[in-house]
């Protein structure tokens, strides 16, 4: 009755051969195609480095003014603008200015990529049910698979550095924007779409003058989530050589530097709160027209 006690599995040797075979062929494939793939991502690399250098080279008072301006434009709240500036000053005062600039450039670039790739995918999903049912499980996979599992092939392909880090961040951060774009467009009032149809709108007119504007609050909630998830990846991305606030945290974990870890960790939290509040307020303002101001 041996066969009942032990689960029937592939023999140890077969299993080892299988894994070795797949590993070997992937390694070979990445060796022969690695350069081409790296070249493909080169523009991204240059953009990332350029932005990082630009942010670091810009005099700090100008950065502070820009931060205050953006925070105010986004949220229309003096308090939030002031809070952002104070946080930035504190972070700089404790010697984390350069790391912060590196992190901001990474977050900005990855968010831009996620928006540029995610919104069109979301629109396609909202238009075709088939695309939706094909992409949804992929998004589920991207959000649940342990990060290290896909970090590995990315590193094997592109080595260690900014670009693989950026890709890892994007893979992790892109699902919310895709999902919420799709959802937002699908949630647009059917009657309003019917009206657009009844007046003879083309698909394009309907998309750009009705669906996307009305889905904007949801799309923006997706952007907000994407930014938050990108920030959450900062420490893990530093494991494959991405500079920024995550790197000292990693060092702190490895060497038990309590203060270093805490300071950089809090800096990440501060950035997260600023990004979150500003983008949320902006999203809320986008749907102000829905509730109208009181009748006069």
């Amino acid at each position: 009755m041996d066969w009942l006690a032990e689960f029937p599995s592939l023999g140890k040797r077969d299993l080892r051969d299988l894994k070795k075979g797949i590993d070997g062929s992937f390694r070979e494939w990445s060796r022969s195609n690695g350069d081409a793939i790296e070249a493909f991502f080169d523009p991204l690399y240059f953009f990332l480095v350029w932005l990082e250098k630009l942010l670091i080279a810009t005099p700090w008072p100008i950065i502070l003014i820009i931060v205050a301006g953006l925070a105010y434009l986004g949220s229309r709240s003096w308090k939030l603008a002031l809070g952002s500036v104070v946080s930035f000053m504190l972070i700089g005062y404790f010697g984390m200015w350069k790391d912060m600039m590196a992190t901001i450039s990474l977050i900005s670039v990855s968010t831009l990529i996620c928006i540029a790739v995610g919104i069109p995918i979301g629109i396609l999903m909202s238009r075709y049910d088939r695309v939706q049912s094909a992409i949804t499980p992929i998004l589920d996979l991207m959000q649940t698979i342990p990060i290290f599992v896909y970090l590995l092939p990315v590193v094997m392909l592109l080595g260690i550095g900014r670009v693989p880090g950026l890709i890892a961040v994007c893979v992790y951060a892109i699902p919310p924007i895709i999902r919420l774009t799709n959802l937002g467009i699908r949630l647009v009032d059917k009657e309003i779409l019917e009206a657009a149809d009844a007046f003879g709108s083309s698909y394009r007119q309907k998309l750009f003058s009705v669906q996307i504007p009305l889905a904007l609050p949801n799309i923006f909630a997706g952007v907000n989530q994407t930014i938050m998830m990108a920030l959450a990846m900062v420490v893990i991305a530093s494991m494959i050589g991405v500079k920024g606030l995550g790197m000292p945290v990693l060092q702190a974990v490895q060497n038990q530097y309590l203060t270093l870890g805490l300071m950089n960790g809090l800096a990440i939290v501060a950035l997260a709160i600023i990004f979150d509040r500003v983008s949320q307020r902006y999203g809320q303002r986008l749907q102000a027209h829905r509730y109208g101001k009181e009748h006069e």
Binding site: E191, I192, A195, A198, F199, G200, G292
Partner: protein, 347 residues
């Protein structure tokens, strides 16, 4: 009679994935209930035949679930029929390509919706100009036209407001202006005033009737409200379970209800106000005072009562004598039983 603008012939709509395969059973008399119970398909429209005359208001009336909103959506093909034919100006709607259909919707029809369906992110002016904008009309022309229509529905000064800032009645005025702005000859109104409270509803009816005097559009007006139907309809078609059970002008329907369902429908109306003298007119002439043929029974009764032999002559809108009316007939028409018993006589 004016000429037919829109003709609906043998129109069927069966909702469900295999609607087409049930056309023949339905034509052979399968009932709505049977179709639903045994095949899980819903019979939306059942053999609709309707000629809609040009420049008149055709009311389609029925309770909820009778298929009236389904029917109106066939006219601009927001819903595709399962079988049948629809022609506008002798042009077949159903054979149009997507591109032709879009053009048809832009130029020939416009629609007013029960729940307004305004674009919440656009201002009143932008909403009214919507139909023109998607036709690629120049901004200045679109603005000018939309301004004119905003004025004609009495919303001047509200151009830059957002729909959410307006009351329901005002929102529907925007809806009406938006529909009129494209100058389409056919106006589809899907329970356009049903969501409004009674006073505002009457207001809107007045606005529509007033505008119609100048515009002469072919209006298809859906409602579940009999008073509204009688008030604005030149012709009425009554729909029940996806079938037209009676069509005709308001007078015909009140004087000769086709079945108990319709008798039930009209039993609570104020007959004195609705029935017109022409419906109870008899041949011959009288020496009494002249009454206008569209004079209401209520007004006629006062005059008839004062006449010596309780008779009046009836004149048409040009003042020509066309018949006479008696007090007996007028009183009889007030009471439904008598009216229907004597209907042959008064025809």
């Amino acid at each position: 009679m004016s000429k037919t603008k829109l003709r609906i012939e043998n129109l069927y709509k069966i909702f469900g994935p295999r609607g087409k395969s049930f056309i023949d059973p339905v034509k052979d008399g399968m009932s709505k209930q049977e179709l639903l119970d045994n095949h899980s398909h819903v019979l939306g429209l059942n053999n609709i035949n309707l000629d809609i005359p040009e420049q008149r208001i055709q009311v389609i009336m029925g309770l909820s679930g009778s298929g009236k909103s389904t029917l109106i959506r066939h006219i601009n093909r927001l819903i595709e029929p399962t079988a049948g034919a629809i022609t506008v100006d002798d042009e077949d709607i159903l054979s149009m390509s997507q591109l032709q259909l879009r053009e048809f919707r832009r130029k020939k029809t416009s629609m007013v919706f029960q729940k307004f369906a305004l674009l919440p992110h656009k201002t009143v002016a932008q909403n009214v100009a919507y139909g023109l904008t998607i036709q690629g009309e120049q901004e200045s022309i679109a603005k000018e036209k939309s301004h004119k229509w905003i004025e004609s529905v009495g919303l001047s000064g509200f151009e830059e407001r957002y729909p959410a800032q307006l009351s329901g009645g005002m929102q529907q005025r925007v809806g009406l202006a938006r529909a009129l702005a494209t100058d389409a000859p056919i106006l589809l109104m899907d329970e356009a005033f049903s969501a409004l409270d009674p006073l505002i509803r009457t207001d809107m009816q007045n606005i529509l009737l007033e505008l119609q005097k100048d515009l002469h559009k072919t209006i298809i007006f859906i409602t579940h409200d009999l008073d509204e139907a009688l008030r604005i309809g030149d012709n009425i078609a009554i729909l029940r379970d996806g079938k037209i059970i009676q069509k005709g002008d308001p007078q015909q329907i009140i004087m000769n209800p086709a079945d108990d369902y319709i008798s039930d429908f009209i039993k609570d109306i104020n007959r004195g106000k609705v029935i017109e003298v022409k419906s109870i007119m008899q041949k011959g002439s009288s020496k009494g005072t002249s009454l206008d043929s569209s004079c209401s029974l209520e007004d006629a009764l006062k005059v008839l009562n004062n006449e010596k032999n309780n008779e009046c002559s009836v004149v048409d809108d040009k003042g020509k004598k066309i018949g006479k009316v008696t007090l007996d007939a007028a009183i009889g028409a007030l009471f439904r039983e008598k009216a229907s018993r004597n209907k042959e006589k008064y025809k």
